[in-house]
Every structure is written in structure tokens, then in C-alpha cells.
Amino acid sequence: MSAERRKLLATGAALGGLSALPGGGAYAAGSDKPEKEEVRIGFIPLTDCASVVMAAALGFDRKHGIKIVPTKEASWAGVRDKLVNGELDLAHVLYGLVYGVHLGVAGPKKDMAVLMTLNNNGQAITLSKKLAEAGAVDAASLTRAMKKEQRDYTFAQTFPTGTHAMWLYYWLAAAGVNPMKDAKVITVPPPQMVANMRVGNMDGFCVGEPWNHRAIIDGIGITAATTQDIWKDHPEKVLGTTGDFVKKYPNTARAVIMAVLEAGRWIDASLSNKQKMAETIADKAYVNTSVDAINQRILGRYQNGLGRTWDDPNYMKFFNDGQVNFPWLSDGMWFLTQHKRWGLIKEHPDYLGVARQVNQIELYKQAAAALGVSVPKETMRSAKFFDGVVWDGKEPAKYADAFKVRA
């Protein structure tokens, strides 16, 4: 064999060898090719479904070898049932709901998994115009109004174990109102919250955007508190699925994380991307509302319905350099502490153990590394709530029991 021919063959072999390495090609010898190409991801028509929807709309799913089919669902209970019975592969879902199902709180019990957090911030507590006119515009004045006029006060949230219920309870409790004893709290869908407030049957609710802004546009409510004021950069919705799905289809799960992560990164990248996102998700197939109801608050432009407008630096974030999406163990554990606090679970669970089971940190780290997204070194993060109490993931049982106002 001539020297030239040998060199050619050697280079060819080297190149062939390189393509077998993970960096050189999309799928290393077929080892991390997604097992399932089509994934059905359920969502509820809220502003924070954006990263899931945009992952499909912008083709990030195709880039990673999967096809995301976003399917609009009717209710959180419906999402829960379809995740449990497998009709949905994954879903845009409330953080607390996933942990609730994992422990079988007031519903079916099934091993669940949180692949990543979808967004931080962007929810709010709305009080009725009637209450605002009586002087109740924040937690303190609401408590005063409730003491002055003794009657049944009705508040609404989206799901008993969900995020909005926890924000509402925390906010009321910090003002001295026991949501379990001193008020009536019901679970109703967002349009019913708005319709009831319009006719005077609802004193306040906690729900995701665009509903709070819509209450202001319709002139029936005011924003008493944004959830980012309660806990800056709090976790909100997650990409949830069952434990079985992650075990059976790890490559698919990783590909979905990568697609949605890229979509989140795209959304947070610029104002024009955010505007395009608002226009896309306002469409009938997704949130089915007007673009104005969405695009103000995602850009941080807030009005409170009483004439005050401000630019909120802690608007809804989908990426924030990877800080949003990492499945922090302390985030999941916080919801468990609040479930215990409000009597939704009777005994202290193994907080850390459950969080380690549910939050798929290893899978997330792999996905983030493949995209070059920075991953924090810790698995817990610390936060100081608006009432001064600090949650850092250490001693969850003590934290849960230390609250004065509880069930």
C-alpha cells in the first residue's frame, strides 16, 4: 500500500472514530437517540405555557429528534388524570400538584418526576374592586377590612395542592388571616373566578397571567400582590411526568428538556422575542386571548388597577441563565412543607428523600451540559420571603412547624 493511501485511510478512520463521539454528531452511535419521537405535552391556557408551546412552534423539538404535540387541557385535575393514566406523556403543570400526586394527597398516588422548572414569577393575587373601594388594597388593609366587616370572605385558587393555593395561603397567613378557618377558599377555574368577581361573589383569587391583568382590563379587580413580591424568583410551573416515563424513555425526556430549555432561552433573549412569543401564544390554539392581555406583564409593565404603574424587574422569567430551570431540591421541599403546614399531609414526609426521587437533577444536568447552559453547583437555594422568613432547604420539618398560622 502506498504511503499516501495509508494516510488517507488513517484520516478516514480517525474521522469515522470522531463521529462516534458525542460532540461530533447528533446521536452517538444511536445511544442517546430519543426512544419515542412524538411526545404529547399537555398545557393549560396560561401565559407560562409559552416555553412548551414555543419549543414546538420554533422547531427546537425537531432539532433534538422529537416532535412535541402541545395539547390543550380543560383543567388541572384533567392534566393530573391524563398524566397518571398515560394519555399525556408530559405536561406543563403546577409544581405542588406533582408532589401531591407523588404522595397521593387527595387523589391518585403515582411516582412522578419533575424534569425542569418552566418559569419563575408572573402570578398575582387579585382583590375585587369592591374590596379595594373599601380600602383593602394589600395584605394589611385587607385584614383590617375583614375585621371591620364580619362576613364570609371567599377566595379562590386553582388547585388544592398547587402553587397558587400555597401563595394565597402564605400571603393571607402572613397578614394574620388563617385561610383554613377565617375565610372560605374554593378551587374554581380562572374564568369562573373572573365571572364571580364581576357579580360580587368573589373577594380575591390567586391565579396565573393573563387572568390578573384581564381582571384589571375589565375593571373588576386590582392587583394586591404579585407572587414575585412574596418570594422573588419563585418556582411556578414545571415540566412534569411520571417516574415510569423517565425510566422507560430517558433519552426522550432529555430531548424534551433540551427543546424547552432552548425555547426558554429564546424567550428571555430579547424584547422582540417576547413580543413574538405573546403573539404566538395568544392564538386560538393556545391561550386564546388578545395579545394585550399578555404582552404587558411579560415585559414587566405592571398596573395595579388603582392608577399605579411600575416596571417590575422580577417579571415572568423562563430561563434567566439557567437559574429558572434547574430542579432545585429546596423548591420541591418547600411545597411539601406547605402541604404539611395546611394539613394536606398528616405526617412529616422524608422531605429530602422525596425531592431527590422526584426532581430529575442528573437528567437535567446532562441536558444543560449538551446545550452549554450553566448549572449551579448546589442543589438547594436560599430565599427570604416578604415576611422575613428564610427558606434554605435545611430542617424542613422545623420550618413547617414553626409557622404560627397553620391548619
Binding site: 390543550k72 380543560a74 374564568p191 386564546n288
Partner: protein, 256 residues
């Protein structure tokens, strides 16, 4: 001839006109409820392209109605398959009637929304659960009406059968069935009405493509115009279903 046609058309047209007038006057001041004019405009836009497909979550109203009708067809078909023979058995055999009547009376008034969670639990999927709900709610009119029809068959017919020593099969197909047919068709008409009612409610809870979920989605957007249009569409389809069955009944009845 012309006078009678005029008399047939004028009252319903006047009735609709009165409804329109009341609606118009009630919404003159504005407010959240849409005016007839606004609703008409929205309807024109909606029906200009009733069969478009824009992904699985956004399809034309024609597809929504067809999907719902498909579920109704399946649920109602199953109910007829089970309910009509059951009605015959109950009407024919006193023992069966005594055994099953209390059960029927107990289950008859149960709302479809109470049956749906059971369906979801057993079938673990939204579509079969919706069809199960239609089945269990629309079966009762057919069972009860068929049973009553069988019980009302004149004694003379049964005596003739005994004189002629007809087999049970001949008795059922030649004597009972034609005599029971008017009652049976009444039951079927009531069932179809119930089935159509149930599917709208069931779809609101389960999601998917259908007129019920479309109403829920428009409710989620507080788009009252579309909800009103949906009410008309649902009513119209129910009316057409009943009219079709009445035409069928007339074809098979022995009154003329």
C-alpha cells in the same frame, strides 16, 4: 292552501323575532353580554370556514360538531343495543321487571357528571369515559319506554299468538316488535336528546376536539359571543337529530 302555509310559518317566525327583540332591548345599554348584531358578525366569521384545521387544538366548528356527533353515535348505539333488548325482557317477564325496576329507578336520576369520574377511573382514558357516560345516561328512556310498550301490547294479540301456537321468536318479531315500535321510538328520541346533552357536559371536563370543549375554551377566553353561537349550534343539531328520528318514526308507524 297558501293560508295554511302562512299559518304554519308565521307563529314560529314571530316567536324567533320576539326573542331577538327582547335580546336587542336587553343589550341596548351595553355591558358584558353581546348584542345580536355582534353575535351575528361573529357567527358569519365562524361559519365562513367551518372545516379548517390549524393543529390539534384549533379546528373549525364543523370538525368539533362532527367529533361530538361521533361520540354520541357510539354511546347512543351501544345504549340502544343493550337497552332495547333489556326493555323487551323487562316488559315480557314480570319477574325481571320486579327485579330490575328499583335498580332503574335508583340509577335513572343520576347526573352524567357523577358518572364521568367513574368512567375515567375504569377506562383510564377520556374518550371511552365520555362514551360510557353517554351510554349510562341515555339508556334509561329506551329501557323504560320499550318495557312500557311491551306491557301495553293488547292482550288480544298475545291470545292470537297462543291460539296459533307461535314460537317465542315469532311472537317477538311478528307481534311484539311492530306493536312496541311507537313506544320504542319515543324512547329513542328521548335518548338521543339526553345523549347530545351529556356529550357537551362531558367534553367540558375531558377536553379534546368537540363542541363541548369548544364551549369551555371560549368560556376560558370569556368570549360570550362564541358561547351564544355554540348554544344555537348545539340546539340546532339536537333539533335536526330529533327531526330525523321523527321522520323515521313516521315511516314505521301504523297510524296512517
Amino acid at each position: 292552501m297558501r293560508a295554511s302555509l302562512w299559518m304554519r310559518l308565521l307563529p314560529p317566525v314571530l316567536g324567533l323575532g320576539l326573542l331577538w327583540l327582547v335580546w336587542f332591548v336587553a343589550t341596548l345599554k351595553g355591558g358584558p353580554f353581546p348584542t345580536p348584531g355582534q353575535t351575528w358578525q361573529a357567527a358569519v366569521q365562524l361559519f365562513s370556514d367551518p372545516f379548517y384545521r390549524n393543529g390539534p387544538n384549533d379546528q373549525g366548528i364543523g370538525w368539533n360538531v362532527l367529533n361530538s356527533l361521533q361520540r354520541v353515535g357510539l354511546g347512543f348505539g351501544l345504549a340502544a343495543l343493550v337497552g332495547i333488548p333489556l326493555g323487551f325482557v323487562i316488559g315480557r317477564f314480570e319477574f325481571a321487571s320486579r327485579m330490575l325496576s328499583p335498580l332503574i329507578s335508583l340509577l335513572k336520576p343520576v347526573s352524567p357528571l357523577a358518572w364521568l369520574p367513574i368512567g375515567l377511573l375504569v377506562f383510564k382514558s377520556a374518550n371511552p369515559a365520555a362514551i360510557w357516560t353517554i351510554f349510562i345516561c341515555s339508556i334509561w328512556p329506551m329501557v323504560v319506554n320499550t318495557a312500557v310498550g311491551v306491557q301495553r301490547v293488547p292482550r288480544d294479540y298475545l291470545n292470537v299468538a297462543r291460539v296459533l301456537r307461535l314460537s317465542e321468536w315469532k311472537l317477538v318479531t311478528r307481534i311484539l316488535f311492530p306493536a312496541v315500535l311507537p313506544y320504542l321510538l319515543t324512547g329513542v328520541r328521548l335518548s338521543v336528546g339526553t345523549a347530545w346533552l351529556v356529550i357537551v357536559a362531558a367534553e367540558m371536563l375531558t377536553g379534546g376536539v368537540g363542541i363541548g370543549f369548544w364551549v369551555w375554551d371560549e368560556w376560558n377566553n370569556l368570549n360570550v359571543r362564541h358561547i351564544l353561537i355554540a348554544i344555537f349550534v348545539i340546539g340546532l343539531v339536537g333539533l335536526l337529530l330529533e327531526a330525523a328520528l321523527m321522520a323515521l318514526a313516521r315511516r314505521f308507524s301504523f297510524d296512517d
